[in-house]
Amino acid sequence: MEGNYLEIANSPGMWIACSFIIVVVLVQVIRLIMISFKAGEAIGLSRAQMLKAVRSGFTTAVVPAIAILLGLAILIPRLGVPFPWMRLSVLGSVTYELIAAGEAAKAMGLEGITGAFNEQIFTNVVWTMSLGVLFGLLVVALFTPRIKWLKEKVAGDDEGWMKVMTAAAFFGAVGYMVAEPAVKGGSSLIALLAGFFAMIVLGIVITAGKQNWLKEWALALAIIGGMAAAGFAFHLFGIGGIENVGK
């Protein structure tokens, strides 16, 4: 099939190019741990307290990190191994990476990340995903020391509005992304509806049943539910299928 570009995507050179940023992250973590321990001792925190903080961070993060593996499993067949691994272990969330990859592929005329890739589409996806997060990284790199100043400039210190604005921007984009597969019908509509209802059910279980541990799994579970529903509908009733997607 169109698999030739995957040789490039999985080449040793690609692995090396993707690894540098992970080294940077590790250097950052180690440096910050060292600084924190020194400063903590100087202001009177005990070593035990500080180790406790590291341990609690570690254990809280294990389960959500497993959910991120789902994104990895989805992206690897299209983008090879090293690039999705770099993106998901360092820069982004599953949601962002899937949206960015899908939009880049759509701009190239595909249906989304599941169309037939070639090396040109792969290259475009790589650049779109990379440039997509640039702004956010620059903001943190440049403005963290002046964050209070930035806050007043942006929203005049109105924290409630800032939260509403963040949500409105994100969901403004998602609105059309939800509608597109919905009007297409077939497998897309089934996956969409199943994902939607799975999320509602999970939301009810989490809030009404006070099952907070489920929160971290909700998105991954809902996605799997949506995908599974599309698969079953095709298998059992012959609804939808691949050709519907490639139309």
Binding site: M14, A17, F20, V25, L26, Q28, L32, I33, I35, A39, A42, I43, G44, L45, M50, K52, A53, S56, T60, I66, I74, F83, L91, G92, Y96, L98, A107, M108, G109, I113, T114, V133, F135, G136, L137, T144, I147, G160, W161, M162, M165, T166, A167, A168, G172, A173, V174, G175, Y176, V178, A182, V183, K184, G195, I200, A222, I224, G226, A230, G231
Partner: protein
């Protein structure tokens, strides 16, 4: 807090954290482009500009607003070191914010104090280590399951399912929408459906690079009106 302690904290924590944070962020920004540069230099592959801009317009239309606001909103929880680390490794809201809150709770520090800053930084550092270990372990596992090659091109139910990742994701996001911020959802969802239907009637897909930027703006403007009137509140929003 004594003046002395404040001074020690400033010297031993704030200054070196900024130095390390900023240097590593800029190094990371350079490394961000290594895969793309590798494709260009070694394989002569350059992105086609038109579609690249088309994709970026969509992504940036929400990423610029979020990229600007998220650090401001979460800084009080994440603290200094936590902010640098969290935005470099991503998953800020769903992972780093709860991690930081948990660490501060477990150790029992008071919010906004130097102790809390340090504890938050250490907690997030611990969560980073966990993420990296899981990602490396998971990668090894995934690569040893030969599931993908066999499924692709089979045309079977599993391939149908795998093809529907994005619709499933968007359905799930729609669910979160309805559950958390139904009022904010009405306008972008309604307009989104309207435009998608028009596209369907015209027999073509209207590119999201044309639709999404104005939708984001309309969504923010209507949210502003609702917020001003007190219909939506910032609490429990994200």
């Amino acid at each position: 807090m004594s003046v002395n302690k404040e001074q020690i904290f400033q010297e031993k924590f704030v200054v070196p954290v900024h130095r390390t944070g900023r240097t590593t962020m800029f190094m990371a920004i350079v490394c961000l482009f290594l895969p793309g540069l590798y494709l260009y230099i070694v394989h002569g592959l350059a992105p086609t500009i038109g579609p690249l801009i088309g994709g970026l317009v969509v992504v940036w239309s929400f990423m610029i607003i979020m990229g600007l606001l998220e650090p401001i909103v979460y800084y009080p929880i994440l603290g200094l070191g936590g902010t640098y680390m969290s935005f470099l490794v991503g998953n800020v809201l769903n992972l780093r914010v709860p991690v930081s809150a948990t660490a501060q709770q477990v150790v029992g520090t008071e919010e906004g104090t130097p102790e809390a800053e340090i504890v938050s930084t250490l907690g997030i550092a611990g969560s980073l280590i966990a993420s990296e270990i899981v990602m490396i372990g998971g990668l090894v596992l995934l690569l040893n399951i030969p599931y993908l090659k066999e499924i692709q091109g089979s045309g079977g139910a599993v391939e149908v399912a795998l093809d529907q990742v994005l619709p499933a994701l968007f359905g799930a996001l729609g669910g979160i929408f309805l559950f958390k911020v139904p009022k904010l959802g009405i306008v972008p969802l309604g307009l989104g459906f309207l435009i998608a239907f028009i596209g369907l009637k015209l027999g073509k897909t209207i590119p999201s690079s044309i639709v999404i930027p104005p939708l984001v703006i309309i969504s923010v403007v209507t949210a502003r009106i609702m917020y001003k009137r007190g219909w939506v509140k910032g609490e429990g929003m994200m």
